[in-house]
Symmetry: C2
Subunit: 581 residues, 2 copies
């Protein structure tokens, strides 16, 4: 399977995840090839995912981030690794790249500008942190947190300036990790998020518990933040982040993490096809030039749920793409199979996991009407075994076929596990009903005979088969109306509903939906004659199960009914406070 | 979809996992049916999986094991629950069962023997703990641990007899859980296992770390134990377990857990078809009598990997089968899709997970020649994030197609997660190569950009594509020969191998394979001229990766080579001590 031609010149530009995975796989497949890796930075093959945790001293020894040194790569893999060398241009007709030394010009090249010829070129240029254009963004106390030099600069700035108030602009992955780690250093931290909620891969109701967890840990959140300017740092007056419609935020350290942009300029100049967000590649990672491959944060690959090309800036896909490019360069047939967008993130004591698309994302694609979803609140293992922790699990699926479209999970324990299980289900093209049947490991310390994933299957299967009709808190919130009388205003749900709380009186007294009457489940069958048959009954309980039982009793007794998805807990967890009495 | 005929009489015999799941689903689907649940024991719907942990006071409040009370089931589900009622016979022609009161005859029936007619009968009789026929097995200090009365009897016996030395006969799931929990009570515990290793669902090399963990926790293991007799307890002399070929074991408390046998006698008497290990059912859980369904520990269902019917005595399948039987009784089409045999078990600080078939099981089915496997030792999350714990992951697959056949995992953290992910892969019919492509959630606290599951895919894919040829420690052990000289005897591997350790000299000095020479990987390319080209090189490193790199270098330089599967660590972990110098 290995080519027996003349040694190939293979040049890889970019020496971190995708580039280095490609280079080492190439060597394993082809002992004879000339393999050159060019890296713009000082370091190759370092663990950039660990950088936020090194900032917070969670990872105490920064040296641990250096997975491989250039020397080790050279000795194990016989690869010519050149750091602080930057790509300038690609001369495709002559199969040559122009590169230049950056940094301290320490003899990594023979001259300042050098030409390197290639038989195959692999581009793993990565992505640049996006710097939103605003006044003051170039101040000395404003940083990004993407590379080891970024980390070192922030650490040194904190050490020399004694920072107390930090601001993180952007509440995505890196923003949350950066914010948490700054907080661990003892700083006051404010997160400024442009959108209505943090962590955009999940829906609003799933972001709310994350937001509460951050606030519980002493952080401040500014949502819908419209930053107009960052004022300079001065000896008398600290720097301020000025906002439209909100008071300024004081910050003597600012980290900007509002996403990344693929480094495509040079590639585009060379006439290689670029898509909406990155370099276009086929499933062998080949660009529009068959001798040029591209991998990692700079490319677009298909999202298996949306069907659209997406740029996924994560180490896992980058590593696999690099390896696949090497396979294909060496004549092994191997195809990239697209993404399901699995991700997991720690937020203090919580974990959030996500795979596929959120309901908000599906709506923005015009697929909202064809999507249903369910929310459940199972424990991560059986409740009778010590240490059971609750989770919120939200699963979206196609309304007609049941095909899984996405899952979001938040909780303290077992979140990464269910995320991965659901990632497997989505990759395998399973339907929500299929989740009923999956056979997951159970012993009391680990799960339940009906795992949360099975439970999602049961609930989703019921919705799909028409055995249960959910009503969603986010829709009810929009239907809240106000009734005036005696100079007071009262919130209520539309009159079309009889709102029936089937929990116990004790539960009811601690809080319930506006306008609800309490008919405990164990009295429901004998209370049917008290109900108004002309009105739809909105049944609910704490997490949805007794509400579902009530729904089944009501429907089979001739009532129109709906069951509140996820129960009263989903209202509380999701922050739908205006529904609560 | 719901039947609109006359109310059905549905009788369910057995009120724990499968039976009660069936009963409650029936009510949700059919508000009008007459549903009767008969349970032989005192309690329904209790969590028998928690019983070993209640014994060890890990679950401190035994009441927590009672998931549902008869009263709650009656009030929520309008189900006629009768405890302490036992099935005596099934009169199929008349669609009637004969039942009798057991226990304290507290009025659960109108008379001692009653006939109950059914339209549909669901059997969820469960399985009996198997009591091996041996002298003394019926002594008062010998117990099984299956039900709450079992638990109560053992607790009371310990309280009144002040036990110090316990023995557990059988080292399967319940045996291990029972033994660990007895140890947590401070007892000296000996496990007596008939087979050459404990925990039969896994291979010998995967059981060894479990055995070491039990010994580390002060337990004694007797493997290949051939018990001949249990001597009586006496005031002067404690009871002894007598064995063939081994000293007797003193024990003042004995728990027997050598598996269970389906309760099929009455079913067989009624002329219903019985298979090798349990009642035969189709995929709607129907027995050979279309009006009689059977679910749970008493039935055989197909194993998706072996293709053979198996009896799986676990709560998860029982629950799903009960629910499915209800669906089918109510006219909803739902099919049981067979088992992949996912299981997980805690052994002190370790977790063992298993899915599919072990290599030993595949061999016993005559499929050994068509099976390959791989062993890896990844961390449960990236090494640079604090708290990374190693695991051993063994994956078996079809030698030609790569189809996944089984996985076994042992370690401290993240074991249940990978077990479930691999259970999804096996259920989806994936090949070992497919594991390369799966996209699992990664952030430093949870995994790695190349998750252990991906790593298994990389290694398996390499084996499948002929890019790496493994040699297995279990085969090498059989090839160890002895050379006499000067009155001494020396172990060595067959002369056909040059055994080359490619680790560092420091690693080599701490222990290596017999007859190995040390050629560190970073010197290998310049040492090739020193190697004997006429001999196959057995390359190895610590966990297999550098050995694989060495293998690739050697093969591409014209050498015959093999790489030790799982490296030196697999030799140590798997207990292949005779290979170590």
């Amino acid at each position: 399977m290995i080519s027996v031609e003349q040694p190939k010149n293979i040049v890889i530009v970019g020496g971190v995840a995708g580039g280095m995975s490609c280079a080492t796989r190439l060597r394993r497949l082809d002992e004879k090839a000339n393999i050159i890796v060019l890296e713009r930075g000082k370091y190759v093959s370092y663990a950039n995912c660990g950088i936020p945790y090194a900032l917070g001293n969670v990872i105490k020894d920064e040296a641990k981030l250096h997975v491989q040194t250039s020397e080790k790569i050279a000795s194990w893999f016989n690869i010519d690794v050149r750091t602080e060398v930057e790509l300038v241009a690609i001369d495709r007709p002559n199969k040559v790249i122009h590169v230049k030394c950056v940094g301290n010009k320490n003899g990594k090249l023979h001259c300042d500008i050098e030409n390197i010829s290639y038989d195959k070129l692999v581009l793993a240029l990565g992505a640049d942190a996006f710097i939103p254009p605003m006044k003051g963004i170039d101040s000395e106390h404003v940083f990004t947190l993407q590379t080891i030099p970024d980390l070192e600069q922030i650490q040194s700035y904190i050490a020399t300036h004694g920072c107390r108030n930090a601001a993180v602009i952007g509440g995505g992955f890196i923003g949350l990790e950066a914010a948490e780690n700054l907080r661990l250093l003892g700083l006051n931290v404010t997160i400024l998020e442009y959108l209505p909620h943090i962590f955009p891969p999940v829906d609003h109701d799933m972001a709310v518990p994350l937001q509460k967890e951050m606030e519980r840990n002493g952080m401040r959140l500014l949502l819908n933040a419209r930053i107009t300017e960052i004022t300079p740092t001065g000896s008398n007056k600290p720097s301020q982040i000025l906002l439209n419609g909100t008071d300024p935020v004081e910050a003597d350290l600012i980290i900007v993490s509002v996403g990344v942009r693929a480094r495509t300029a040079i590639v585009e100049d060379a006439g290689i096809q670029i898509g909406k967000s990155g370099v276009i590649v086929n499933d062998t990672m080949q660009t529009s030039d068959p001798d040029i491959y591209a991998v990692g944060d700079m490319v677009e690959t298909p999202h298996l749920v949306s069907g659209h090309p997406v740029r996924i800036a994560l180490a896992g896909p980058a590593n696999r793409q690099g390896r696949l490019a090497a396979d294909n360069i060496c004549g092994l047939s191997a195809n990239y199979r697209g993404n399901v967008g699995t991700a997991v993130c720690k937020v203090f004591d919580l974990t959030v996991g996500v795979v596929g698309l959120s309901v908000e994302a599906l709506r923005s694609m015009g697929r909202g009407d064809k999507t249903k979803y369910l929310t459940i609140h199972p424990s991560h293992h059986v409740g009778y075994y010590p240490g059971a922790e609750p989770m919120v699990l939200k699963v979206a699926f196609e309304a007609d076929s049941g095909r899984l479209l996405g899952a979001q999970i938040v909780g303290k324990q077992g979140i990464d596990k269910r995320t991965d299980v659901l990632a497997m289900a989505i990759r395998a093209g399973m339907s929500v009903e299929d989740l009923e049947h999956v056979e997951l490991g159970y012993a009391p310390p680990y799960g339940a005979a009906k795992d949360p994933v099975n439970m999602a299957g049961f609930v989703g299967g019921n919705i799909l088969r028409g055995l249960m009709q959910p009503v969603y808190a986010e829709d009810l919130v929009k239907e809240v109306c106000f009734e005036s009388g005696d100079g007071t205003q009262e919130r209520r749900l539309p009159k079309k509903y009889q709102v029936v709380d089937v929990r116990t009186p004790e539960e009811f007294c601690k809080g319930h939906l506006i306008g609800a009457v309490n008919v405990p489940l164990d009295t429901l069958r004998r209370s049917l004659h008290l109900m108004d048959r002309s009105k739809k009954i909105l049944a609910y309980c704490q997490v949805g199960y007794r509400g579902y039982l009530a729904y089944r009793i009501l429907k089979q007794n001739g009532f129109e009914a709906v069951n509140l998805n996820g129960g009263f807990k989903a209202v509380c967890v999701g922050g739908y406070d205006s529904l609560i009495d």
